[in-house]
């Protein structure tokens, strides 16, 4: 339920309302709207006499949030959420450009690519140190060593860092090095992990699961936000369909849909969304034209020898050209690089 308090209600009185709701067994989250205090009170199956609550002196109105995701819905928080990471404000008019290799493979690789993507205009460097791989016999990432390299390479070029965390136990370790904690598509419904990053004080990038509906994706975000961490960036990376020519089917419809349903920023990963190098740039342009808040793109200076995802990685020069194209398209819809 969404409680709008009266304009005259003081901070102290609002806290008291929240406390009373919590005593009824509800979780209470606060957001402000047009200068007034708003409280969301959530708790499935908790029996509450809402007619009585409506008559409380401090309460102006009580409304249902008609969607299963509450705190991440526009109904709860009408304004766009903006998440600041380094020089980047994800969800603002400025597009968030995140780029880098699939996996961190070594010092030279990390620094070479960091330099290239920074020069092209990226503000966040991606790079995997813990890799979820279908086969137990594939390269599993450099682990903490990879995180250290990624951090140093990013720092050297003024970039923030996003890297994947695969397990609830790994959260403190990854949070030590990364500015954004990435939850991968395969873990979008790993609720233990979602709860743990929900307690972290770092923004979370939540990829859409391969077979997740938009509603389930937003419920995944709700798992995080309900733990207290409101800094969630959604990332569309393609869904699984019958089409086999491309690795996944990039669902750009999801961009305007998420923008309507939620206040959270949403970016697009056209590298996994297509799986084919020369399809990445067209789909990156399309994502921005559809209203995405940014891009997460795999870039590698020597993709033929990459330890993972080489065939879908852009060369640095391709990435730079793409950023130039994005710059013009962004203007059409009131955004900028």
């Amino acid at each position: 339920m969404l409680l709008l308090l009266k304009a005259s209600v003081s901070e102290v009185a609002a806290s008291d309302v929240a406390a009373r709701l919590r005593m009824l067994g509800l979780a209470v989250h606060r957001t402000d709207h047009l200068g007034r205090i708003r409280l969301a009170a959530v708790g499935d199956g908790v029996p509450v006499d809402w007619d009585q609550v409506r008559r409380w002196a401090e309460v102006d109105s009580v409304d249902t949030i008609a969607v299963p995701f509450k705190l991440v819905s526009r109904a709860f928080h009408p304004q766009d959420t903006v998440i600041t990471v380094g020089r980047c404000a994800v969800g603002s008019t400025q597009l968030a450009l995140m780029a880098g290799p699939c996996s961190i493979e070594g010092e030279e690789q990390a620094f070479t690519i960091a330099a290239a993507v920074a020069r092209a205009g990226a503000t966040v460097m991606r790079g995997g140190a813990y890799k979820p791989r279908s086969s137990p016999y594939s390269f599993q990432g450099l682990g903490e060593e990879g995180l250290k390299l990624l951090r140093r390479a990013a720092d050297a070029h003024g970039l923030a860092v996003v890297s994947e965390v695969m397990d609830s136990q790994q959260v403190p370790l990854v949070a030590r090095y990364a500015d954004i904690l990435q939850v991968g598509a395969r873990n979008m419904q790993n609720y233990s992990l979602l709860r743990e990053v929900g307690h972290a004080d770092k923004p979370v990038l939540l990829k859409r699961g391969m077979a997740s509906t938009i509603e389930e994706w937003l419920l995944g975000a709700e798992h995080i936000v309900s733990q207290g961490n409101r800094q969630v960036i959604l990332c569309e990376r393609g869904i699984r369909t019958f089409e086999t020519y491309t690795r996944n089917t990039l669902d750009l419809n999801a961009i305007p849909v998420v923008k309507e349903l939620s206040h959270l920023p949403v970016i697009v990963d056209p590298s996994h969304g297509t799986g084919i190098r020369d399809k990445v740039a067209p789909m990156a342009r399309a994502a921005i034209a559809a209203g995405a808040d940014g891009l997460l793109i795999e870039v590698h200076h020597d993709p033929d020898h990459a330890l993972s995802d080489g065939p879908q990685s852009l060369y640095p020069v391709q990435y730079a050209e793409l950023v130039d194209q994005i710059r013009t398209i962004a203007q059409v819809i009131g955004r900028r690089v």
Copy 2:
């Protein structure tokens, strides 16, 4: 097989080569490449001694077309096919803007919408007279009366006409009024219909089937082209996936993929691809940014009272704004409205 004839081979000698191939039981199609004559000889399972053909005096080289679709593949015809319809050259640098109501409902409706889309910049008017409807109890279209109204409304505003043909027997009738024969998604594998429009002398707009892979879609086009009609425009309109928030999942990945595999033009229908009015413009912009050759969009001046597809039809003013946005995006990739 693809036979490149020697540079010196005359038209008469080339005809003779073609005749000899036909006597072997093959279908022969001609295309020219860089001033030289090229012949495609197709026939599954026809036993031919290609080593001997390779030694014919007129023949320079014999190559396999490694894909199941032959005549629509880039291997057969490396240059983009351009199809001229009225003031529109589909597949050229100029984008093909097709718009109009889902169904033709009456004279006033047809003329009002024709005026609006022409003013906004469209060059082709869409409008259904024969409607494939899931339920036998839904409005099935005005039939020939609808085609007459569509033709008159389009003529009054200098527009060409595209309209759907649902059955092989209907082809002559629809071809009398329309400039482009549309084959709908549900009929993409109605091979009797494909064969019949393959004999027509009008361009064909072939929508992708709801569950068709890109390869099956191109094979559908091959059914048409193999009958002699090379003027096929492909149209992506969304595929069926598990996601239910949108009517279909618009597969924009298909745009750069088709552009690589085939020489045929490919346009996008974001109206069916999303099913939701305020998602049409973002996805139309995305389609152009991804490299589509044009757009097929449903526009209605009074969508609340439309007899079909009202919820996904743009108001004329929205369509005009969209065309303005498209104009700028088109420049980024060397196209124009």
Copy 3:
């Protein structure tokens, strides 16, 4: 709407009620229920004052059919529909065993297979004379010659005949030779064809479209029944999913679902549903265990040289073993071979 007439209403009076409903613009279909006359009056968007109809002297009650498919719903016709073809009563306690080659290829092939499947217990012979093929260069069937061979082979062994019709124009020709007109998966939404077989006086076997929901499938059947032909046999043959190991994903869930929603018989085609010979028998057994009314199975005595679908065709001996297994499973659920 479903009108139950009073017990005392005569045939003449019932005809008069039907005539009055037709004058209101409705289509009227009659079914009887527990000795009383029931009329279904359908017509989307036709404005009718149902409160007034409810007060007609002959009318006992007026109820809504809450599903989009009306005449094929259990609400309209609670008892199972049984369709008699030759020695087979499809939809009765006796299972309908239909078997034969994918395509009719010649006299010896047709007679050899007819003998084998008849000996094993089949009562209907399948065989394609007109083949919908993805590629225009694949074998397209023997046409009328194939139908003649199929008819003669089936007659020689006391079998009825089912064969595919691909186009509305072909209906009279195929109906001359076949006892059951098959509409293939690719044509499940070819409404011109559905209308035409709806006027035929032969039962129709309607395969589920590759990407069709159960509701759309039943609406396809409704297109046929609404034209007057109530003899429709549904056939589940696998849907398209992301899984690629099997040709299709056989959706046996659909069997109990269709049985609940509709009175029409439903059979299963495990040959197309799996695409792999040694997976056909397990899935055929599963189909019967799930409650299917019969099986449509591809059998070929020399599948390595079959012109189509060899890899999924059973050898005659395998088919005979399968029928034996089916016999026992059938008893568990009160059916018999």
Copy 4:
């Protein structure tokens, strides 16, 4: 690679071969075949001179395992794996009947249901104590308290216990109470969890992910087995498709496919596979007819008041009837209850 040692090779010599392979950087797993020692040596990208290994004195032959899953493939281990849990031998001719409530809700519920399913013939009791729920506001399970109740209720009726583990940290706790550790569909690619249960000394029930191909599912099992735990039971529970009438599409094709590709037992969960009570029995029968090694079924004595999955839970009497039907079907394929 699969090394078959010579018949004369002693245990000591075989250990020496294994040690040499490990020194090359390979993981080595042993299985015996027809009285001879076989070793699987796996390690993606490890450079090994196999021609030289082939010449080792102890080695008879060296063969490639042509599938990406190695240790779980039939190539590695041709005989069926049988996993003994309590009175049940999963993968033997005896079917494994696992049943119980979705969630453990309290003492009376647990004991009532345990008694009912034991009486009907089940040998393993299911029951969730940690529940993965799409919404953070839904009932999340009783935790350790639930595990204790489940254990006591099962013990009281001679049943073994299967319960879900949601996170790598939870493994020791759940293993204290359960005989089989269940990894849910949402966690099928949670590789940290797979690794952890791979170190446990309890059998693992691995559900197929909602959008996982059969190959990915077997690779998930490979993650577990490669850690040393060979006791993996696969469980098909429905995949996500476009069909919305049922909760999931139960993919019974997967049963004969898995049986061909792998030596691991595979059971079916028709409760989640359909999501509808009266569709569970038909699909359970179908699963056994298709060759499944057992069933995992939700049973609740008061499903209208169940805290989760009530609508898909069987009443105890329905479950007992189903087991009777299964008994007869099992005989057809040489199995027994």
